[in-house]
């Protein structure tokens, strides 16, 4: 701090300045201003969601009325039931949930195992493995689009849950997170386990896994959202109604041509159903979500 060499007197003066009355009043005014600014900004950020929710409760007449109606109405249940029926929502939500959970769990299991091998074993090709996993970061779906499609086709995995999930299970970021975590566990622990006659798998299962729950929860939240919100992958792998996920299936509800009824209340009802699971997970598991984002960097 700048006051390192300050004399007693100077320090006292500083203290006096910090605690005097007009200053405190200014601070209180500042606090109010911060609240006001935050509320204004949050209103802007929340508005699209509020508006979508509002429209999803209105009937067709209210949707198109001028000036636009900004208040909820009473047709919520009708609209959600209609959207559910019209777009086969139940099936799509089920597919999305299956995909998101399987991809998240798969990525976590695969990454735990490979990070364990890389940290606790000395084997030929260890560095090569590490780099191979790292390089997947540089190969997002678009840069291998057509040829991945071909591979999935050759395996006979088009329109299947295997095709939807297994190819997405490699994860450099999750592997790095577990590697980083294992490196913070003192190596004496593993040595002690060995002296007690516990093998590596026993050590992983009985000692490392119970220590990893915080990391697993954090990764699960982030990876669930990643899986749920996939678009290009399910669009490419599936082309049947039965396999469609909700994020790609929603689009069919949009009234495109002028001759269709402008049923924006139904599509907003569909959008609310599609966004509720990932948003709810962020809100209820916020602590894990922030940890997962900031520590896994993707």
């Amino acid at each position: 701090m700048s006051a390192v060499g300050a004399t007693q007197l100077e320090r006292a003066q500083v203290r006096a300045r910090v605690t005097d009355a007009p200053r405190r009043a200014r601070v209180r005014g500042g606090t109010l201003l911060v609240h006001a600014l935050l509320i204004a900004c949050i209103a802007v950020v929340v508005f699209p969601l509020y508006f979508a929710l509002t429209v999803s409760t209105q009937d067709l007449q209210q949707v198109v009325q001028r000036p636009p109606r900004l208040l909820p109405s009473t047709h919520m249940l009708d609209n959600y039931a209609e959207a559910w029926r019209k777009a086969n929502m139940g099936r799509m939500l089920l597919n999305s949930a299956a995909m998101a959970v399987t991809v998240a769990v798969g990525k976590i299991v695969i990454s735990m195992l490979s990070a364990f091998a890389i940290v606790y074993f000395n084997f030929r090709g260890r560095t090569l493995c590490f780099w191979m996993i790292f390089i997947t970061l540089m190969l997002p779906v678009p840069v291998r689009l057509m040829s991945t499609y071909e591979v999935i086709g050759t395996l006979g995995w088009l329109n299947s849950y295997e095709g939807l999930t297994i190819p997405l299970m490699a994860s450099a970021t999750a592997t790095f997170l577990f590697r980083q975590f294992y490196l913070t566990v003192p190596s004496e622990m593993a040595e002690a386990a060995q002296l007690d006659g516990a093998g590596p798998l026993r050590f992983l299962w009985g000692f490392l896994l119970p220590l990893s729950w915080a990391n697993i929860a954090a990764l699960f939240v982030v990876l669930f959202i990643f899986g749920w919100n996939q678009y290009l992958w399910p669009l490419m792998i599936t082309n049947t109604e039965a396999m469609r996920t909700v994020v790609i299936g929603l689009e069919q509800l949009i009234p495109r041509s002028g001759t269709e009824l402008p049923t924006w209340n139904l599509i907003m009802a569909g959008a609310m159903m599609a966004l509720l699971p990932p948003v709810a997970i962020i809100i209820f598991m916020q602590r894990w979500f922030v940890k997962g984002l900031v520590e896994s960097d993707k």
């Binding site: 949050i42 950020v45 429209v55 695969i110 490979s114 190969l139 291998r144 591979v151 994020v247």
Partner: protein, 294 residues
């Protein structure tokens, strides 16, 4: 890499096998195939292919449509990044002040990350709707300009940029809050004692101290905008009107899946690969620096 406690001839290979199997089968092999494809002319059904060297690339580089998709990509990624990174810094700056109710405010700021870009796009599509949308309605009181995304390319571009930036907010805010909370309280107190007002404290102290995070987020937002934003374009504008919102990834999909031009889509994949490699190298540069600053 140190450590290595256990000894086994086969177990480590078994443990890395699932990860490597997925990596080789679905990442490396297709990537190599894409590279190879880019040097061939392939008939639409894939039964005949002729080696043609770099012709796919020279054709692409002579194609004005390709240039416009490159330009659109940078415009889109730049717009999304500028809007969401700057907006997030301001919001995170407000949400780390010493006031009551911070937990509630932070929750209200983080949730947009959960919304898929395509779903966000659909919500904004209605807000921007030329006939029923709330935005053109209120703008019509201010100006006679026809704010119609179906006719005006820049309106369509604004629509997809705003929708995508909205979904990036939660991510960026989480990083900035972590970074801002790591600034030692003594630094801010010292500035306060020296009489620096809130704005001056922000520009002279906070902004430089979080600049490594800012660079890192800029790169990451660019990567997301380039490679994870296919959904918003496909669900909302389909690249239109004209080709105003046709970004590189959308053109690649269109030429490959719909046009069945495998050689050209291979060449486009290779160019995207070069971009993602460049961005990833930058990302890890800044990731290292971010760590030393924190």
């Amino acid at each position: 890499m140190q450590r290595a406690v256990f000894k086994s001839r086969w177990l480590p290979y078994l443990l890395v096998a699932p990860q490597l199997a997925v990596t080789v089968l679905f990442f490396f092999w297709p990537a190599v195939k894409s590279l190879q494809l880019s040097l061939y002319r392939v008939s639409p059904f894939g039964d005949r292919s002729t080696f043609i060297g770099l012709e796919n690339f020279t054709k692409l580089l002579a194609d004005p449509d390709y240039y416009s998709s490159v330009l659109n990509s940078f415009l889109f990624a730049g717009g999304v990044t500028a809007l969401s990174v700057f907006g997030s810094l301001v919001l995170a700056g407000l949400a780390t002040q010493k006031i009551r109710g911070l937990a509630v405010y932070r929750t209200l700021l983080l949730w947009p990350y959960g919304i898929a870009p395509a779903v966000a796009g659909i919500i904004f599509l209605f807000i921007f709707h030329p006939a029923y949308g709330i935005l053109p309605y209120f703008l019509s009181f201010v100006t006679d300009y026809e704010f119609n995304w179906l006719l005006k390319g820049w309106v369509a571009m604004t629509l997809v940029i705003v929708a995508t930036a909205w979904t990036h907010l939660g991510y960026n805010i989480a990083f900035y809050i972590a970074g801002l909370l790591a600034i030692p309280a003594s630094v801010m107190e010292a500035a306060d004692v020296d009489g620096a007002g809130p704005l001056r404290r922000f520009t002279a102290i906070v902004f430089p101290l979080v600049s490594p995070i800012t660079f890192y987020l800029v790169v990451l937002n660019m990567v997301f905008a380039f490679f994870e934003s296919f959904g918003v374009v496909d669900a909302v504008t389909k690249g239109g009107p004209g080709q105003a919102t046709e970004i590189m990834v959308y053109k690649l999909y269109k030429d490959g899946f719909i046009g069945l031009n495998l050689g050209s889509s291979g060449a486009q994949s290779v160019i995207l690969m070069a971009i993602v490699i460049g961005l990833t190298v930058l990302q890890f540069r800044f990731a290292e620096r971010k760590v030393t600053y924190r």
